[in-house]
């Protein structure tokens, strides 16, 4: 039998019992040749300790921009503003760069989207992996790390260059340095398997989840794959046009989507088609959605009203989750 001990509210901060990540009113703006592009707009959510938080949304909806902003690694000329951006109770926005740098890799780890280009092409992998772990790792430890991510057989090849390895092997190496070597408490995985072969995708994802089991870290998993979300995420955030349009526990989201975009997304899932439903691609495209004055989904939404075109809906609590829609609700 398990006993749940309720902590007095005052102690929550000291024992690290609050959310691991708390984001509120986050905006990310790129300065481009064609003007300002608000890639992330007024995004608020929290990631609880130990959970796997999924982030879904089509290409260009702002998922990578959000993840990159969390590490303050956006390219030059872009701007982050937020009402609140806290990791483990500490404000990330006002943190000096030198402290932020110490946090990167040690407290927050990033598993990148394109493993094939995430190591320098001109330096042997062993030297790079050592450098990436802060130079504190000797050969024996490096080998141990690689064995732990299923690359024990590569010992003799560590003097080789990145292009001499497969995408799956590289992603395992990157996971070894980003997740395993220094055990950060938050792992940001930005579509960690999209560029890999289908057969390897499941293995790499499995590795990430096994490590999480072992190390007890928290994972923010960006993915296109709703099947993966259903299997591994505790909660999910759905992004559209720079907004987080719905945040809900995975089960609720799948059983009873409230935002019209979430519903369309679920309807377009291959497994739903396999069950005999007719294919329902979402009509229209996402491009330019960030710049609309009203709801970004209005041009493609079957419920859109005049209000939707004019006024951007605020996030509201609805049916046990957060939704950004003037007319939320279950399918009619």
């Amino acid at each position: 039998m398990r006993t749940v001990v309720e902590l007095p509210a005052g102690q929550a901060g000291d024992t690290g019992a609050g959310p691991l990540l708390e984001v509120s009113g986050l905006d990310v703006t790129y300065r481009t040749a064609r003007g300002l592009l608000p890639a992330v707009r007024d995004v608020s959510f929290r990631v609880e300790r130990g959970e796997v938080f999924g982030l879904v949304g089509e290409s260009g909806s702002g998922k990578s921009s959000l993840v990159t902003a969390l590490m303050r690694l956006l390219p030059r000329g872009s701007e982050i503003t937020a009402d609140r951006l806290e990791f483990d109770g500490t404000d990330l926005l006002t943190m000096p760069e030198s402290r932020m740098r110490r946090l990167r890799g040690r407290e927050i780890g990033l598993v990148p989207q394109r493993p094939m280009t995430s190591l320098s092409p001109v330096t042997p992998v062993a030297a790079q992996l050592r450098r990436l772990t802060g130079g504190e790792v000797d050969d024996a430890r490096l080998h141990e790390l690689l064995t732990d991510v299923g690359l024990g057989g590569l010992k003799a090849r560590l003097g080789d260059y990145p292009f001499q390895f497969s995408g799956g092997q590289l992603q395992r190496m990157l996971i070894a340095v980003a997740v395993l070597a220094r055990e950060p408490s938050l792992v940001l995985a930005d579509e960690p398997t999209t560029t890999l072969d289908a057969t390897v995708q499941a293995q790499v994802l499995r590795l990430l989840l096994d490590l999480r089991e072992r190390l007890g870290n928290t994972v923010l998993l960006v993915t296109h794959d709703l099947g993966v979300v259903a299997q591994v995420c505790d909660r999910v955030g759905v992004m559209y046009g720079g907004r987080l349009v719905e945040v809900a526990p995975t089960r609720q989201l799948f059983e009873d989507p409230q935002h019209p975009y979430t519903r369309a997304l679920l309807a377009a899932m291959p497994s739903n088609q396999a069950r005999g439903e007719r294919l329902r691609p979402i009509p229209g495209t996402v491009s330019g959605a960030q710049l609309l004055p009203g709801c970004p989904f209005a041009p493609r939404c079957d419920r859109a009203t005049a209000l939707c075109w004019e006024v951007d809906p605020e996030p509201t609590e609805h049916a046990g989750r957060t939704v950004r829609c003037h007319h939320p609700g279950s399918p009619a």
């Binding site: 690694l73 390219p75 740098r101 320098s120 990436l132």
Partner: protein, 322 residues
């Protein structure tokens, strides 16, 4: 690596043969043959025929060509038609002068160009970057011949005695004197190449700083110094070496102009003076030496490229094992 070197050297030999052929054909097409060096004004036809026979110029073209290539390959370069000095002797002295001038200009200016480019990239958008950007455009667009003349004028006329504006002091004349005499020609010879190198390295480094692997390195807390000097620079050097290879022509070809402007007794000056004097053997030897030096330098840069880019190496190994 060795077989790559051999293959590239083979390619260079073919190019050298083409150069020889072109020099040969050009000399034959040019008005006023080598016999001009021997004959005064209004020579009699008999005298001309005698000289032609003596020089072997009355033989069929293909026979002359074979003799010509053969003599070059056996390094039997003959003697100057005007002074009688063996060509090899003439060339030996001047070769050292040109090589020294070219090498000094190359090493110093490449180092300056790379340093400026790397610093500009590291301080992107700041004052130093602006200085380098403007400076490099000015450097690469100034015609070196014109710059040389201006410097001769300035240091010869307006501020005499600061730096020698003409001539070349040998080592025997004192190390200080020698080095002082290199300054202006070397400055003029390499400045435009340095501009190109600085711009290329700056652009390549800025590009490299956008790479996925730099972002990944940053996500693991690497400091900016490591990112710049170990990662971005290492990647940016590859396209820069290509450009350096392309700039070699400026250093070697440029020497012809610059040596004449500053009156430096090198091969470049010899090329011009021997052509003007119709001194056939000297002109050939000087031209071929210049072309040969260019080929060797290009070969060295190519091998360097091979050494710094593991992907090129791998591609080559793949091809040669297939």
């Amino acid at each position: 690596m060795l077989s790559y070197a051999i293959r590239r050297a083979g390619g260079a030999a073919v190019v050298l043969l083409l150069v020889l052929t072109m020099v040969f054909l050009m000399l034959h097409a040019a008005p006023g043959g080598p016999e001009t060096a021997y004959l005064g004004n209004n020579p009699t036809p008999e005298k001309r025929a005698a000289v032609l026979a003596q020089l072997g110029l009355d033989r069929p073209l293909w026979a002359q060509y074979l003799t010509f290539v053969g003599s070059i390959l056996t390094l039997d370069l003959g003697s100057s038609l005007t002074t009688g000095t063996p060509v090899s002797e003439l060339l030996a002295d001047r070769m050292l002068v040109t090589l020294e001038l070219g090498l000094v200009a190359f090493v110093v200016w490449t180092a300056i160009g790379m340093l400026a480019g790397a610093l500009a990239a590291a301080r992107r958008g700041r004052a130093l970057d602006a200085v380098v950007r403007v400076g490099s455009v000015v450097a690469l667009s100034v015609p070196s011949f014109w710059l040389g003349l201006i410097l001769v004028l300035v240091f010869g006329l307006y501020v005499p005695g600061v730096l020698p504006s003409s001539g070349w002091a040998t080592w025997d004349e004192g190390v200080g004197e020698h080095l002082r005499s290199i300054v202006l020609p070397a400055f003029t010879l390499g400045i435009s190449a340095a501009g190109v190198i600085a711009r290329t390295l700056r652009t390549s480094m800025i590009e490299a700083l956008d790479a996925d692997h730099v972002t990944f390195g940053r996500s693991l807390g690497l400091n900016e110094r490591t990112i710049l000097s170990r990662i971005a620079l290492r990647n940016a050097v590859i396209p820069t070496v290509t450009v350096i290879g392309m700039m070699l022509g400026t250093f070697i070809g440029g020497a012809v102009l610059i040596e004449n402007v500053f009156n430096v007794p090198g091969v470049g000056q010899l090329v011009v003076s021997s052509f003007l004097a119709h001194d056939y053997p000297v002109a050939i030897a000087a031209t071929v030496w210049t072309a040969g030096t260019f080929l060797v330098a290009t070969l060295v840069v190519d091998l360097l490229y091979f050494a710094i880019d593991p992907r090129i190496r791998a591609q080559f190994l793949e091809r040669s094992t297939r």
